[in-house]
Each structure stands twice: as structure tokens, then as C-alpha cells.
Subunit: 351 residues, 2 copies
């Protein structure tokens, strides 16, 4: 059996008895029942995922996968394609948004080249797992072969296995000029929604470029005819290398019972492919921020995930996940560190 099938088969829904036990503990803490809202939900979910009734967050890791996109040739992005490797080097030097926010949250950033059209040589710190040198232009044909797509997914599965450990929590992020275009194509393919309903302005295109972008995605879907009942067909035909690696990381995390916090639009497209392959992955996912990018909500609704950070972010890289991972950790600390009514000598509810 393949590595992907192995990982998919290892994923189980959460044990509801564990969730109930976590709730019992939460209800002994010195606060009105449920008054810490989603922080309590995060704690329950981490207990359910890890199977540990006293889970600790020991290591936070944001994986930022980079890949290029042939469809950038169609002029769908406000930035030139060379920005992908330039930003990868910026990540490695610690100067990007994801570096600042990860430091703030006490998370490491693991920068992975899975599909950049650039030779990084021996760039220190880069995790080199290049499968393709950029995808092909989806307006003209499939982005990748099915085999290439599976190899990109396996990069994510491998990294999840390498970094899985008790107390680990993952975050997802990406860099790839033009990658909102394949992401919108993936959402449209699975949801059947009109392209214009699931396409946004990415990192800042104007009206005419936006209309052109919608047309490019419509053309790509018509030319490739991705089959929504075959998630790997969608991923290979209209996806991207970094999107596929995110799919793999999430599958690998779920298989190893590691919580995974997803970033915004592109990461959620990767999560959606994982979800279409095995619906149980959703139990392992925390949706961090509410992207301003149209189509994000469509995916989250489909997976029944609700984001909790509303900061109008649209940078990607994993920036929303870096903030979200700290809030999930806050929930776990509430669960572990708060005094109980008994310990603190606080009276309970009277009515």
C-alpha cells in the first residue's frame, strides 16, 4: 500500500469519551461553565486529538511550503514570479511577517522548497524537498502529473512524521506567487460554486486583473475537467506543489494525532483536498483566521470549521496560523493551569 493510503487509513475520528472527560475537568475550574468559550473547545479538541488527558504544548512548528505556478505567466498576480525565491530567502533570514509572528508565538518556522522554480544551492536552513520546478500553466493543461502531486503530498506526510512528538502542534503556511489562482480553482472544482464567487484579489490586483483572473480560472477548469470525486485529480490538474504538501502535512498530522492549525485561503485549499480524501481530518484541524479572500468561507463551511482570529489578514506564509497556534496553546494552558472550585475555595453556582 502507498504512503498516502497508509496515512489516510491511520486517521480515526476523535474519541467522544475523551472529549467528555476533558469537559468534566473544564467544569471544575473557577469560572462559570463554558465562559471561556472557544478556548475550552481548543483544550477539549487537543485532548481528543492527542489522547492525553493532561496534554502540554511543548513544540510549535509552522511549516511554510514554497512553490511556483506556471499560471503566473497569465498575469494573475500583482507581484513578479521571482518574489517566490526572494521571499524564501527572506524567511531563512528571519525578516518576513511569518518570522516575526512565529517568534512572538514561540513557534519555529520550517521553510520547505517543494516546488520553487529556482536553484537555492545550499541555502542554510532550507528544507529541500523539491518535486517540481514550478507547476505548468493550468490554463494550458494540468499543473502536475498525478505522480508529481502524490510526491508533493508525501513531502508533507514525511515532514509530519519527522516532527511528530508528544506535545507537538503544527501550523501550515505557504509562499508562491499566483497561488490564490489554483486555490480558487480547487475550491470551484470541489464546491461547484461559480469561479467569481470563490475568487478574490489575492495580494492586491485591481478590477481589470481580477476579471482576467476569473477568466483564467474558468478556462483552466474547462481545459482540465478535474473530477471532484477524485481529489488527487483536482490537486494535480489545478492545484500546486505547496498546496499538495499542505494536504500531506495535514493528513500526516491526523495520522500521528498531532493538532494542526491552518492558515488562510491557500492553506485551507490544501486542507480541503485532505478533507475530500478523508473527512475525519477535520477533527485534527484548527482553522485560525478569517481571510478577507472570497471563497475561504465556502471551504470552511464545507469542512464545518469556524475561524477565531479576525484581523483582516491576507498575507499567507502561515501568519494567521502563527497567531492561531498561540490561542490554541492558551486554551490548553487554561485547562492545565486554572485552579478548581475546590482548590481555590470558591462557591459554585446557586441557580
Amino acid at each position: 500500500m502507498s504512503k498516502l493510503d497508509d496515512a489516510l487509513n491511520a486517521i480515526a475520528p476523535l474519541d467522544t469519551a475523551l472529549l467528555d472527560k476533558a469537559q468534566e475537568r473544564l467544569d471544575t475550574l473557577t469560572k462559570p461553565k463554558d465562559s471561556l468559550g472557544r478556548l475550552e473547545e481548543f483544550a477539549r479538541k487537543v485532548v481528543g486529538i492527542t489522547g492525553d488527558l493532561r496534554p502540554g504544548i511543548k513544540r510549535k512548528i509552522i511549516f511554510t511550503f514554497a512553490g511556483d505556478h506556471g499560471v503566473a505567466d497569465e498575469g494573475v498576480s500583482a507581484f513578479p514570479k521571482e518574489v517566490t525565491p526572494q521571499m524564501v530567502l527572506n524567511f531563512l533570514n528571519g525578516g518576513a511577517g511569518i518570522n516575526v509572528l512565529s517568534r512572538h508565538s514561540g513557534a519555529e518556522v520550517v521553510v520547505v522548497d517543494v516546488g520553487v522554480d529556482y536553484d537555492f544551492g545550499d541555502a542554510p536552513g532550507l528544507v529541500k524537498r523539491k518535486v517540481v520546478r514550478g507547476t505548468r500553466n493550468i490554463r494550458k493543461g494540468p499543473a502536475m502529473t498525478r505522480d508529481e502531486a502524490v510526491k508533493c503530498v508525501e513531502v508533507g506526510i514525511d515532514l509530519a512524521r519527522e516532527y511528530a512528538a508528544p506535545g507537538a502542534i503544527f501550523g501550515t503556511g505557504e509562499m508562491g506567487i499566483a497561488n490564490t489562482t489554483p486555490s480558487s480553482a480547487v475550491i470551484a472544482a470541489f464546491s461547484g460554486e461559480k469561479v467569481s464567487s470563490v475568487t478574490g484579489r489575492g495580494t492586491g490586483v485591481d478590477d481589470s486583473v481580477f476579471k482576467h483572473k476569473v477568466k483564467v480560472i474558468e478556462d483552466s477548469l474547462r481545459i482540465n475537467s478535474p473530477d471532484p470525486s477524485d481529489p488527487l485529480d483536482v490537486l494535480s490538474k489545478v492545484g500546486g506543489a505547496e498546496i499538495a504538501a499542505i494536504t500531506g502535512l495535514i493528513i500526516g498530522a491526523a495520522a500521528r494525532r498531532v493538532p494542526v492549525v491552518i492558515d488562510g485561503f491557500i492553506s485551507t485549499a490544501g486542507a480541503l483536498v485532505a478533507f475530500e480524501l478523508n473527512h475525519s481530518v477535520r477533527d485534527y484541524i484548527f482553522a485560525s483566521h478569517n481571510s478577507v479572500e472570497k471563497g475561504h468561507r465556502v471551504m470552511l463551511d464545507r469542512m464545518n470549521l469556524r475561524p477565531f482570529v479576525d484581523l483582516d489578514l491576507r498575507l499567507g506564509e502561515g501568519t494567521g496560523a502563527a497567531i492561531g497556534i498561540s490561542l490554541v496553546e492558551a486554551g490548553v494552558k487554561i485547562y492545565n493551569e486554572m485552579a478548581t472550585f475546590g482548590d481555590a475555595g470558591v462557591s459554585e453556582k446557586t441557580n
Copy 2:
């Protein structure tokens, strides 16, 4: 002139030239323009507040003000009144939600007794500024005299002065069984909204208690006739000691150019009184979380503030502010620590 008038007169609107300069720097950083959304707004605002073009967050302090409420006798809360001092002791022992979340955010908690109906003796760590031993029952008459209310406000102003320093940022919080009742009364008095539209279930009352709570607030407003054009009249007649201290802390922070992150429903009621005294205080306030408590939105809209944490919190204590203060800090770090396009050798936008 009084201490309160002095502080109110010291508050100035933000200098828009400073905000523009902060924006100029933000636009040189290696990210698409505005793509870090509200994190960028926080950075601009901290520059405007502090007057420092390279501001740092050096000390985060959450002030948790405690006070009792005579209206608790009307059975408007799910918890008995003795929980106020019990929770104060829990704060001092580090076992409450606010302690856990403040530790997570690297913030200190300053616990202030401004109106608890309990003798704490020499409880270590408690800041003793008791003005009243609980307010009087607002269903039967005014909560406090005008003089008492001003003294409570001055407690906040004094603490703001004592803790103001370059790099300081404040958060507000409170503890006081039944204090959603006076908070709703304050909102109804200023906004003219129906009591049932601005009253929620506090820490968890059921349907019949909720109806009773609305009736108690309606009675209190009729009996006291607070004058919305005189904010101190509203505060003294239907407010509370800890609400007044929050009002004072915010006024004192604005007077000293210290950013202040407010918590949810009760803190926002305190902020609203400050706003009614001097509209410019809003420039110094960060509204952290979106409370599930009805009426919160009415206040935020009135002050034109938009919260950014959506975690279904309804605990108070300053828990939302403890999370919010870390996100404001994240914005400042983005501003200070990200590489510029020039430094990182990243190409800028092409269209």
C-alpha cells in the same frame, strides 16, 4: 481644578501626521500593502498614541478592579456575592483565568480592591484602594454618591499615572458578582436603547432570572433617572465602583499617552463612560474581544471601535484583554522587526 478635570483636559486626539509616517514605514516592509490588516492598524495606532516612531512594548499590565453590587440582593446573578472576594483571592494566588492568560501573554496582573464588601486584611499583592464596601442596591436608589463615584474614577487615574512609562500598555478587567446588571443599566442610560436589547445572561442565568434581571434594570433606571448628558450622574446612580475605576484608568491612560486594551462587556461600559466624558479617549482604546453579551456591540458602535478576537468569551476579569494585548504587541513587532523590500532584496509590485 479636580484630578479628573486635569486628566480629561490633558487628552488630545492623535496626530494624523504621525499615523501617516507610521504607514509609510509599514509600506516599505516585505509584504503586499495592507496585507497584515489590523496588525498594521495596531502599529499605527500605538505610534500615534505614544508619539514614538519606533515604539516598543516593554511592560504589559492588566488591571483587574473588584467591587460588589448591592443589586446582587435582587437575585440577578447565578453566583452568590461571596464569590467576589473568593475570586480576588484566587487572582492573588494565580489560579484564575486572567492569571493563566496573562502569563501566556507575558502580562502582569494588578488586582485592585476598589469596592469589595469584604475585609481582605493584609492580603499580599492586593492593591487596596477601597472606596465603598459594595454599592447600594440600584433598584432602591443610587449605587453611589457622586463623590464616591469620582473617588473610584480617581483610583483608576492614579494607577494609570503610577504605571505609565515608555513602552507600557494597559489592559482592563474586573470582578464583581452581578456587575453585568449595572453595565446594562449604563448602556441603556446613554444609548436610550430598550433594556431588553442591551441585557444578556451574564455568567449564566436562565430564562426566568433573565426576565427578572431586565425588570430590575428597568426599575433602577426609573427610580434613579440618570441624566445621559451628565456621565458622572449615570456612573454614580446605576454604575459600580470597578466600572468607575476602569473609566478612570482609561482617562488616565489617554492623558499619559498609554495604549489601553479593554476587555468585554463590563470594561466596555467603563470605557463608554470615559468616552461620554471626552470623545478623544477612543483614540487610545483597543477593543479586544467580541463579547457574547448583548449590548456590547451597541457600545462599540457608539465609540466606533471594532473588536478583533472572536472566542465566545464571557468571563471578564480581563481575559479578553490579556489575549488582545498580545495581538497589539504582535502588530508593534511587525512594524519594528520586519525586513524592508530594500534590505531583503525583494521585488515590489508590478501593477
